[in-house]
């Protein structure tokens, strides 16, 4: 029987410094054992526990899409004990990945619908995964119009700049990447995510919106969504809480009766309305 607490060994294949403050790095992992990759059967929206020996584990959203191949991508903000240790690792180093954990974005419900992806700051990781998944040749036809609204404080704080560049050239995305204020060399949109959302005004007819970002962004974006006619059932988000086991046992990440690690992290606003605000 497989031990759900045992991480798969992975090798760090590539490290990319994503942002100008150098606080966000993306780690590309390759599994040491090919069978482990097969067992790691994931869907965008899920997360994994990253292990650095002697330091511990942290839950991080998966930024790669299963359509991209055998590697996994995680973008990690340097924040505490494990993330700092992770930032100090080098390409070629061995570490552990445990997962995939949690539910995912509701792709079955999203099929045949217009998709609105709204992200802010470094909460864009599982949204990158989702975008890549939706845009994959095999999947694209299953979904309607795709609207992307993604904001960061400055151009230098945007994640995945090369990927954004590719998306900006596609004609099947309503592409709206914004920064908080004017910046030298920035020719794109300027403004906060809620205001940009109001301007872009995606239709709520036969649509599902996924919103991930800092609490303040979500707080001001939700009323805009309501104004645009999005019901709580059509509006999806992803929660974070302190976690340990990641499999619904150790008891700390619950929001009411729901465990963020196992019942979540993805919830609709309709579900959140019935739950205490313990997140």
């Amino acid at each position: 029987m497989k031990n759900p607490y045992l991480p798969y060994p992975v090798r760090i294949d590539k490290i990319v410094i994503e942002t100008e403050d150098r606080n966000l790095k993306s780690f590309k992992f390759l599994f040491l054992n090919a069978d482990d990759r097969k067992a790691f059967d994931y869907t965008p929206g899920q997360f994994a526990q990253l292990s650095v020996t002697g330091k511990g584990e942290i839950p991080i959203g998966i930024a790669s899409s299963p359509t991209e191949g055998d590697h996994l991508l995680f973008t990690v903000n340097k924040m505490g004990l494990v993330t700092t240790a992770l930032h100090n690792l080098s390409e070629g180093d061995i570490m552990g990945v445990r997962g995939p954990l949690g539910n995912s974005y509701p792709f079955d419900a999203m099929k045949g619908k217009d998709i609105i992806i709204i992200g802010g700051g470094y909460a864009f990781t599982t949204l990158r995964s989702t975008m890549v998944y939706l845009l994959d040749k095999k999947n694209r036809a299953d979904f309607g119009k795709i609207t992307l609204i993604y904001g960061a404080r400055t151009p230098g704080m945007l994640l995945y700049k090369e990927t954004l560049e590719e998306w900006s050239k596609r004609d099947d995305i309503n592409y709206n990447v914004t920064v908080d204020r004017e910046a030298p060399g920035w020719k794109g949109i300027v403004g906060f995510v809620p205001a940009v959302t109001e301007k872009v005004a995606p239709s709520s007819t036969n649509a599902i919106a996924i919103i991930c970002g800092p609490p303040v962004m979500i707080k001001f974006t939700l009323p805009v969504m309501t104004k645009l006619g999005f019901t709580p059932e059509q509006t999806v988000t992803s929660l974070e809480n302190r976690m340990k086991c990641g499999i619904g046992i150790c008891g700390r990440c619950n929001v009411g009766p729901e465990y963020v690690c196992k019942d979540g992290p993805v919830f609709t606003m309709a579900q959140l309305k019935e739950m205490p605000q313990e997140y």
Binding site: M1, N3, P4, Y5, L6, P7, P9, L32, S51, T53, G54, K55, G56, E57, M79, G80, T83, D93, I94, M95, G96, E240, N241, R242, K244, C245, I247, G248, I249, C250, G251, R252, C253, N254, V255, G256, P257, K262, E274, M275, P276, Q277, E278, Y279
Partner: protein, 343 residues
Amino acid sequence: MEYKILKKNNVDTFIGELKKKYKFWGPKKKTKQITFGEVSSQQEMCLEDFTNSSMSPKGIFFPQSEIMLSFKKSGEQANIYKDVEISPSPKVVFGMRPCDARAFSLLDKIFTNDQFTDNYWVSKREATTLIGLGCNAPCSTCFCTSVNSHPFDEKGLDLLATDLGDRYLLKVLTEKGKKMTEGMSSLEDAKDSDITQQKELSTKAEGAITSHVSVDKIKDKSVLELYNNDMWSKVYESCLNCGTCTYVCPTCHCFDVQDEVSKEGGVRIRNWDSCMSWLFTIHTTGHNPRPSKKERVRQRFMHKFKYIPVKRDGEIGCVGCGRCVTLCPVNIDIREVANLMND
């Protein structure tokens, strides 16, 4: 249903027979504390004046600290976590109170869910044969009958023993229990009168429970209705967040996972944790979803009486053992809290 008689002057032979195949555990008195541990004779057990162990016996399957994985720092396998061997030796535990066994049956469902199996718990549970001991004389703080349990509850047990004075009546409840009794010369067949006597004792014990709690209306109230109830502003006031209730509780099962490092490598361990702790939920950003004592106290009671029932077909997350009532240093009484939730 199969019944056996174990005469009290035969208990040492009984233990001797079992020790050929199993480790034998029973309740022991260490200074003032009663704990379950390995024993080799009846004399070592404190069965005559035994009410219940001071701590919940959950540690038999869920130790306070437990090694889960190991790793080395150097060599070919450096920084790769490895399973540690889990091969618990077969064990018979005698004298488990029915409330605690019921708690195990709930934890069985928590440590195994639809996707994952916690083998650290499961392997020890499977290797253990539990002989319960019905409560002829429940304590004043017992309220098992209010939370769907009973002084002679059979759930979670392999055998249920009843003290009939000079002998125990053993009711065989599971295949595992049956296997244990097979070929034992210290056991005799029970008479119908023994079974009648057991039933009388069970009814008498039920009547002897003086604590009653009402939980019937909680299921009709929504999570948010209970969560936003004004009562929590009062209930938490005296709480010290010491965590005693969580450590002595037979159904509390929260744990922390940590890495410990030595010279050559290290281990990943899990330790009991407590929702009473501020650290339990704090994010690295400093944000804490349960920032004050009020949220933490509410979490514990909501978990027992609402969250677990919502997720598990109405099964209550409290078995009425009364340990937290006895041991809370500021006299927070779970019975009163449950009644307030039900009001």
